[in-house]
């Protein structure tokens, strides 16, 4: 194999299928109708008919056993459509907890990104408002807790189905050690990065379409160089995010985990999964933020109105990204992965 920036035949087929699916089944009126909860049960049922909820689970458990390289393609299509379904969280949880009713999508699973607090509550779990099962850390263990979904979310920036969930009340199963969450979180980072790339890509195209159509001073505003240059910065951010997400997925599929990959900062060579996943998430979050910001700005006042779709993308660019926590802390975590923990290096 050799360096190749095109989608493989498999990836191409998946991109076509899911691109067409989300375009047809999750147009913006479906997205709008699902607000403020950010969940469409009908869309979820349609995903089930494609067997999408089980794609990530291992095939010996009846799942699709899809590679991460395949899943990132779906995640980008989902992001482009800002589809109101917690598919990414469900997939990641299903890797740890591939029960038949989860693999089939009959029950929705979610993943708590932060450990439960002292009183046993997972705060603001993405997908938590609609999940029947939540996987996360509690008291040093990875557990799955089955309990009724609240089906309500606090009003939030990205209209995401977030909710606090109990790590203690309900049917609680211990899945393994705390360290088993780390690869799941990295998988979540990569898939969320791909979804954010989808947001960035679509927002860029919405901006281009709008500035071609909108006339001021007797000409399309897209002929003003200030606007052109603001948009011209976006392809690097979008493409860079896409390549990083794909590279991280490739590293995972090739087994570059737990030190099997390379981290050589002198050569600028990184093929280890965890740092690539962190890079993908951080960069894609920036790409989505900048792309939606510029695109909205070039919509002028209309971009601020609820009627225009760009605001839906603007809010999700932040809402889907910031749920992982302060990006400054994520960058420091990346620095630990690349150069080792801070203390060990000091004074060397």
């Amino acid at each position: 194999m050799a360096l190749d920036f095109s989608l493989s035949a498999d990836q191409e087929a998946i991109a076509d299928t899911f691109g067409a699916f989300f375009a047809k089944e999750s147009p913006v009126d479906v997205v709008r109708a699902a607000e403020p909860l950010g969940y469409s049960p009908q869309l979820w049922q349609k995903l089930r008919s494609l067997e999408a909820p089980g794609m990530a689970a291992p095939d010996q458990e009846g799942g699709g056993g899809a590679t991460l390289s395949a899943l990132v393609v779906v995640a980008e299509a989902l992001g482009e459509a800002i589809a109101p379904v917690p598919l990414i969280e469900h997939w990641v949880a299903s890797r740890a907890c591939p029960a038949p009713e989860i693999v089939s999508g009959e029950r929705i699973a979610a993943i708590a990104l932060r450990p439960a607090d002292a009183d046993g509550t997972w705060r603001l779990v993405p997908g938590g408002a609609v999940a029947d099962v939540v996987v996360g850390l509690d008291g040093g263990e990875l557990v799955a807790v089955h309990s009724p979904a609240p089906m309500a979310a606090p009003s939030n920036h990205g209209s995401a189905p977030l909710a606090d969930r109990s790590a203690r009340e309900g049917d609680r199963v211990v899945l393994g050690e705390a360290s088993e969450l780390d690869p799941l979180l990295d998988m979540w980072r990569v898939l969320t990065a791909a979804a954010l790339v989808g947001i960035a890509e679509r927002a860029m195209r919405m901006g281009v379409d709008y500035v071609l159509e909108r006339h001021q001073f007797g000409r399309p505003i897209g002929s003003f160089q200030a606007i052109q240059h603001g948009l011209a910065d976006l392809p690097a951010l979008v493409d860079g995010g896409r390549f990083l997400a794909h590279k991280a997925a490739w590293a995972f599929d090739e087994g570059m985990v737990d030190g099997a990959g390379v981290i050589d900062m002198d050569e600028g060579n990184v093929t280890e999964f965890a740092p690539l996943a962190a890079m993908a998430m951080l960069h894609a979050a920036d790409a989505a933020a900048v792309s939606t910001d510029r695109s909205l700005h070039y919509h002028g006042g209309y971009g601020f109105s609820l009627e225009y779709d760009i605001q839906l993308y603007f809010r999700r660019a932040r809402g889907w990204a910031n749920i992982v926590g302060d990006p400054s802390r994520e960058r420091r975590r990346l620095a630990d992965l690349l150069w080792g923990p801070a203390k060990a290096m000091a004074g060397r």
């Binding site: 990083l244 490739w250 050569e267 400054s328 000091a346």
Partner: protein, 378 residues
Amino acid sequence: MDFRLTDRHEALRTEIRACIDAHIDDEVIARAHRTGANHCVELAKALGDVGLLAQAMPGEGQDPMAMWMLSSEAEKAGAPFDSVGMALVIAGVLNAAGTPSQNQRVTAALLAGEEFVCFGLTEPDGGSDLPAISTRAVRDGDEWVINGSKMWTTMAQVSDWVFLLTRTDPDAGRYGGFTVFIILMDTPGISADPIHTMSTERSNVTFYDDVRVGDEWVVGEANEGWQVVSIMFGFERGIANTGALTPLLRRFAQWAAHTGVIADPVHREHMAQVAIDAQVAELLTQRTAWTAAVGEPSGTQGSIAKVFATEAYQRHARWAQAAAGPEGLLGLGESGAAAEGWIDHDVRHSVPQTFQGGTTEINRNNIAERHLGLPRAR
């Protein structure tokens, strides 16, 4: 997508490194900075001897990954490589558009690492607006007589040849009536004055005063020179000179580890950001090379890679300098300088990267018009 380099490319990298290691040391690097010529004959000859220059030459049927790899390994090592990079571009142009005798005489010597060539394109009144140049070549019997001057003829002082863009028919429209010549620098009538810069690199103004050359030195067709320079722009952009973040970060991290500053969470956060941008710059560059390798136009992708990489280089060099405090102000070779003065050098050296080889604005115009499909603004 696949991100693995082939065994052949890994072997190529090993070979390139061996050449660089054998010929580049601190003294060679210091000499380049002292003399202002980012140039090392020994390295060029060594790369030529083992056939690496012939492999890295851009063009149809060639492997653009080889050019990327050579450029990026040289950047990582801080090796004086610019004159070789320029020779490769012109070798590629001559290979695509030159005559057999030009290839025998010039291309072969360039690819052997024995002769060098400078670019005579830009003029005082023809910068970004290159078609506005006024250097004239006029027919006289079976010769051409050239008069005019060129700005920023970098490497003229060490070059055997100049690749010269002239006007031969001023009435042939914006892109018509240009003719490109490949001319020996010691042809009577050619002279050069240095341009000293705020970095260690020297450039030149070159003057062409009744310079007489025969038809055999016309590259491509007379009056069709714009096609020839277009080939050249396609070769240059976004494949070479996009890898500066990796050595910047390496040197900063070494300095930070040495001083203990590396434990500072604020610095760590920024170092991580530099690492991300270095990855992105590399991926965008590899994509440009890959696109060219599969035979598709890579022009806008080159612009995308170039703008991102050069802007990130400036941003992060300036951050590194501020983060290093007063020691970050000390120049190359000064005792006590942060990272032996490389940080100060990077701040200076990164400045022209956003206009050399096409400015950021010109590249953004290119991306806006040809990648995003926006109307022409100019």
